[in-house]
Amino acid sequence: MPWHMKSAVIVYPGSNCDRDCKIAIETSIGAEVAMIWHKETKLSDELDLIVLPGGFAHGDYLRCGAMAALSPINAEIMRHAKRGTPILGICNGFQVLCENGLLEGTLLRNASLKYVCKDVDLDVVNTDTIFTTAYKDHEIATMTVGNGEGNYFADAEVLARLEGENRVAFKYRNNPNGSMHDIAGIINKQGNVMGLMPHPDRAFAKELGSDDGALIFQSLVG
């Protein structure tokens, strides 16, 4: 187990879960966490995990994540994705991954047209991904969502491919935002990039209501 695992959290100017992600990683697996400003143009080759945190990257007055996909750091995120570094986008981070093309589909305005913050129970649909192996005996996870645009949308072909290739990692038991196929989290084809709308970074210790999110980080260290 790489106990000295090195991770990075990308900090966009409107990120607001960057610190939460750092603490969640530290608490869950004791990894080293570097906070990387979005104007940086270099990410270390030594990284074992890159997290794109929640928030409103550049205010998101345009489509969520659209501007973040143009931030200087994005080229390095793309490079790491290609070389297989695990990349996790949470909430706004998931939106960024859809905008920079690492994940398919997009996240629309919630079906209710309102922001929603609530606890959700998730089915861990695929426990064979690098982010979910620790859920093997734990196939329901509780976390919270907090989003206005968490409504996952993709065309029928993409949905069929995601389901067929077992790339839907998490599904809502009670869909809070209208996501197609109750999708809460998906993985790329290569298996190293995950987008997740609920917040493991708010569910890593019992006193926060749940520690089920810690298993995502624990999966990465085997």
Binding site: P13, C17, R19, A24, F56, H58, C117, G146, L208
Partner: protein
Amino acid sequence: MPVTEQLTPETIAQHGIKPDEYQVILNRLGRAPNLLELGIFSVMWSEHCSYKSSRIHLSKFPTSGPAVIQGPGENAGVIDIGDGQACIFKMESHNHPSFIEPYQGAATGVGGIMRDVFTMGARPVALANAIRFGEPENANTKRLLAGVVSGIGGYGNCVGVPTVCGETNFDKSYNGNILVNAMCVGLAETDKIFYSRGAKIGSPIVYFGSKTGRDGIHGATMASADFDEGSEEKRPTVQVGDPFMEKLLIEATLELMQTDCIEAIQDMGAAGLTSSSVEMAGKEGLGIVLKMNDVPVRETHMTPYEMMLSESQERMLAILKPGEEHIAQAIMEKWDLDYAVIGYTTDTGRLVLEFDGEIVCDIPIGPLSEDAPKYDRPWVKTPPQPPVHAAELGDIDFGQAVLKLLACPDIASKRWVWEQYDRHVMADTLAASDKPFDAALVRVHGTNKALAITTDCTPRYVLNDPYEGGKQIVAESYRNIICTGAKPIAITDNLNFGNPEKPETMGQIVGAIEGMAEACRILEYPVVSGNVSLYNETMGQAILPTPVVGGVGLIGDYHNAIGYGGIVDGDLVFLIGETTDNLGATLALRELSGRSDGAPPRVDLPLEKRTAALVSSLIAQRQIKACHDLSNGGFALGLAKLCMASNIGIDAQLPENVPTTAALFAETQARYLVVISPDNLDGFNAAVAQSGLLLREIGAASGANLVIADVLSLSTSAMRKANENWLPEFMG
């Protein structure tokens, strides 16, 4: 000397300056003011900025105590929470703008109160609110509620500060004048607190944040006048918020504060550039020169009048140590924020504005700030009312009555509201609106300490007896914090009333302040910050007197905190405190009899203090597992809430030798329901015995129904349904 011009009586009146006040201006200047100068007097002497009707009464509040680092008079209050850490908090209203444009009005209310807190060096860690709307039947209520909630969420969620608690109420008196009171709580280090005082002579004045636009001009004056039929036309005076800019401003300001270059700092809130510059200079008896051509502006051809009175959001003004400007500039460039040195401090005691090579304003600062007018307005005492005894309510179907109260707009679950607020960002929220706790709990980051936060007001009590009602608000805030196991430390207040020029309204203000002050004194729960919002009237109809209290407490180890959930079969329920036969001004009287008269419950403050001490020690000794104070709806609703929180039934007895209606619904103060595990019975009895307080075993948790003696039996699921359904059905 600036060019003067002939101002008509209409212009003077439009600026809210009364003839006698204008005479004072003439005397202080020795000449007539020009329009710009009149505008500056107008905003600084507005009720909103000068507190001219309330100041002499506000001085009755106790404002000091062992934990108080900074009381009222700065941007926010500061308390010591140990270990070199401070908690900084304040509540402020944004009532008039929210009525005119609910989304932006509420959003900028949240933004403004956050700036008051981070201006002092604190990172905002929690938001709370108290919002009040007209009766549900009013055509505007649904739209205003939806807009305000969306605005509060839209701003706080984006900035990334959790909204952890609040209250949402309805009354027809708010039909034309809703209330939006927002509270922010922040954390700082005690040796890194920043003030608006401390500026020295010859120091540069720097502006950073958003550019100045034409939005919000005369907001402070608008907030200080009655509404009339043309109020909706005042939309251009409502500011537009940009929470992303606020997020950048927080990070940039806190980064600047890590350097050692700030002498004084203040955000530009009400009355914008005028009040921030005048207040910083006024506190040190300094003068100020501002070069208006250097102010970053959003629009072309802006006049100094517009720049000085603009309430554009997300702007800061700091007075730096000379020669340190480049440090601030580099930080603002990193965060892509506008930055400009726009002037300097002087020893003249005057506000001098230069524009296009001319002096366009030159007035003394004293009369604008420390020396502004204050009034001892005439007032009459609110006449006392007799108690209302249970017999007056006649025969009641008690089960139906409980369901009706649970579903009434004031009590119905506000899930529809708080599910739109991010309650968990920052990952330190231990208990927010979704959890059965009487106060929200937010961990002090990286420690085992937690802050307890609550907002409270019962306007119907204040209406009938301002003094007792004022006491009750503070007592309820205190109890809500006690129930979690935290120690109440201090409050902020937000005093919302009608027109103070009416002696009856002024009587409410004086009575409520005196009652609150008495409670703060006895409970050792001082006021450290606050805001006054007067003239909450539309077409002569005043709101219910609504002095809201935002309370903050501290628990040393959050593992010892409790709520009122987690009850299991067999747990024992006790009532601490005595119930009396008075239903005056209660929720039950209003909802069941359509009456709002009567003496509200009296508050015996020494008894409150003794009872709270007992409850605190029971929680600290881990004798009790759940605790809930009795307030709206009394004993019956208290038990209903325990049942709903744990999805369980309770088999209960009636508490006292009082008529059943009073036993169930009286809102007698200083009462708590506490729940213990049967294994703890001996320890609990021993701990309580010494207190001398009235304690009665009420019953035990069992089954799926709330059964109270032979007077009612309700399934917990039916109660939940009644409680949960009203708001979503109303909002559609």
